[in-house]
């Protein structure tokens, strides 16, 4: 697969990741365009989350990773983030013993963080600024997690299963927020909920057995019943 540095924000070539010596991503190559939302799809356990964590250097990885043409594969995680990569982890990972305001303040890297933008997206959090993040509902914690990534002028967001375990109303709210965010920053999204993928994603990368097995337009993949069944192990009408 070729990576076009003029249109792609992220290039991943021959990425291999391991956790405690166990290979979790075999050999992944793909690129992410500088606009819109690109979904990473695949069955459970194929290495989607590990791919995101590998890009960010949170787990041991080898291979090439470029951000706007610059190599970031040799950098520690905090330096990659400082270069403009926001991260919304699976399971939110808010700091439970810190307040909402502290969780957000910790994420602010620039002198003028986009507080107004975040407050407008998640008004519920404004009222809960002094509440301990650990006492929030799952949906509210997800809002904190997404808000942390949106406070800075990032060049790319890595968002891992943002709707996992959330009530339908909150799923809509988080989806709306990501759609709004995608207008200002490209997003690489890992998501199991195909309805959400259909609504959000422009392109899709399908991982199977630790490798990229298909790339293309997200809706085209979801509309092709046979392909969806074969690649994702689910019926296409789920997202119809």
């Amino acid at each position: 697969m070729s990576i076009d540095v003029s249109t792609d924000i992220l290039g991943v070539r021959n990425l291999r990741c391991s956790i405690a010596g166990q290979q979790v991503v075999e050999d992944v190559t793909f690129s992410v365009p500088a606009t819109g939302i690109t979904a990473v799809l695949g069955r459970n356990g194929v290495g989607k989350t590990s791919t995101l964590r590998g890009i960010l250097g949170l787990i041991h990885r080898r291979g090439e990773v470029t951000l706007a043409g610059e190599h970031i594969d040799g950098l520690p995680t905090h330096r990659i983030v400082q270069r403009g990569v926001g991260y919304v982890p699976e399971d939110r990972e808010v700091f439970a013993k810190l307040t909402v305001a502290e969780n957000l303040a910790l994420a602010e890297r620039q002198k003028k963080p986009r507080r107004e933008f975040v407050d407008a997206l998640f008004p519920d959090l404004v009222q809960r600024r002094d509440q301990m993040a650990g006492t929030l509902s799952g949906g509210q914690q997800q809002m904190v997690s997404v808000a942390r990534a949106l406070l800075n002028d990032n060049r790319l967001l890595l968002v891992d299963e943002p709707t996992k375990g959330l009530a339908p109303r909150i799923v809509t709210e988080v989806t709306d927020a990501l759609l709004e965010a995608s207008k200002i920053v490209p997003i690489l999204l890992v998501e199991q909920n195909l309805e959400v993928v259909r609504r959000l994603a422009d392109g899709a990368i399908v991982i199977g057995g630790g490798r990229v097995v298909h790339t293309g337009d997200a809706r085209e993949i979801l509309d092709d019943g046979d392909l969806t069944r074969r690649l994702l192990g689910v019926h296409a009408e789920v997202g119809a």
């Binding site: 520690p76 995680t77 905090h78 990972e93 700091f95 810190l98 910790l106």
Partner: protein, 291 residues
């Protein structure tokens, strides 16, 4: 009644000393997952240098006493910072090796201190008031205990203020919960490691100088003896919890004093039994988070 009051207050005073040592241990483990066996060496060196300063300026004066505490804190912080930068940082994420290097440093430090200051304890002196007692409800409380309590309260207040009101404090609190997520927010958490070592070293340094006045001598093994109880306190309080360390310090020391006074000097034995019970019933400690 006076015996009860004496035992209780001296227990709290001893707990204050334990807290001064344990606070740094707990913070270091909480953030870095390093059991720092070299913590006693920070304490011992601070005590020796503090003693040299006080001795040079005149042991009877309050000025030299206070200055020796400040110098002790600075020496502890400097020694701890150096340890983190030179020995711990190159072994980042290799926790077993990090623990082993602190064990090695603790042995080497004791040998070095014995080489410099000899193997025999050196008797020390301080302001005369420290050797006097203050009567409380009929009990005559040695004044050293009041100084220990004041120092521990001041250190606890300073640590709480630092952790709650500063950005670095916020980073440390967040790092204790989830270190990798702190780095995923673009923060170089290793800077906080050095800071936590320095803070822990400073607290141990203050503890070292005061421990010297508590025991009325300084020796190369001063830190090793206290470190055992500081570890016990840290485990019982919950590894990584400052409040837990404060509560456990007082709990352990009061229990120890009561057992020593009323159960034929079995204080140390009772403390070990308490540790075993806590590990069996609540392995995460009083306020520690479950692994």
């Amino acid at each position: 009644m006076s015996m009860l009051v004496l035992t209780l207050i001296t227990g709290v005073g001893l707990g204050a000393l334990y807290f001064l040592v344990a606070s740094g241990l707990s913070l270091i483990y909480g953030l870095m997952h390093v059991l720092n066996f070299a913590h006693g060496a920070f304490l011992t060196l601070s005590a020796f240098i503090g003693w040299l300063v006080a001795n040079a300026l005149g042991t009877a004066s309050w000025g030299s006493f206070l200055l020796s505490i400040v110098v002790g804190a600075l020496v502890g912080a400097a020694f701890a910072t150096l340890t983190e930068l030179v020995l711990i940082r190159p072994l980042y994420e290799r926790h077993i090796e990090q623990v082993l290097v602190t064990v090695g440093l603790s042995f080497a430090a004791v040998a070095l201190f014995e080489g410099i200051w000899g193997t025999d304890p050196i008797n020390i002196a301080g302001p005369p008031w420290l050797k006097q007692t203050t009567e409380v409800l009929g009990a005559r409380i040695p004044n050293t205990y009041w100084v220990l309590m004041i120092a521990a309260v001041l250190v606890l207040a300073a640590l709480v203020l630092f952790l709650q009101k500063t950005r670095y404090g916020m980073i440390i609190r967040a790092g204790v919960e989830n270190r990798s997520m702190v780095t995923a927010l673009g923060i170089d958490v290793r800077r906080s490691f050095t800071l936590v070592f320095a803070i822990g070293g400073a607290a141990a340094g203050i503890g070292g100088v005061l421990a010297m006045h508590y025991t009325t001598f300084v020796s190369a093994h001063l830190g090793s003896t206290l470190l055992i109880f500081a570890f016990i306190v840290t485990v019982i309080g919950g590894l990584g919890s400052l409040t837990g360390a404060a509560i456990a310090s007082v709990l352990v020391a009061v229990l120890q004093q009561f057992a020593n006074s009323y159960l034929n000097g079995t204080g140390d034995f009772i403390v070990v039994i308490l540790l075993a019970l806590v590990l069996l019933v609540r392995p995460s400690g009083i306020l520690g988070s479950k692994a």
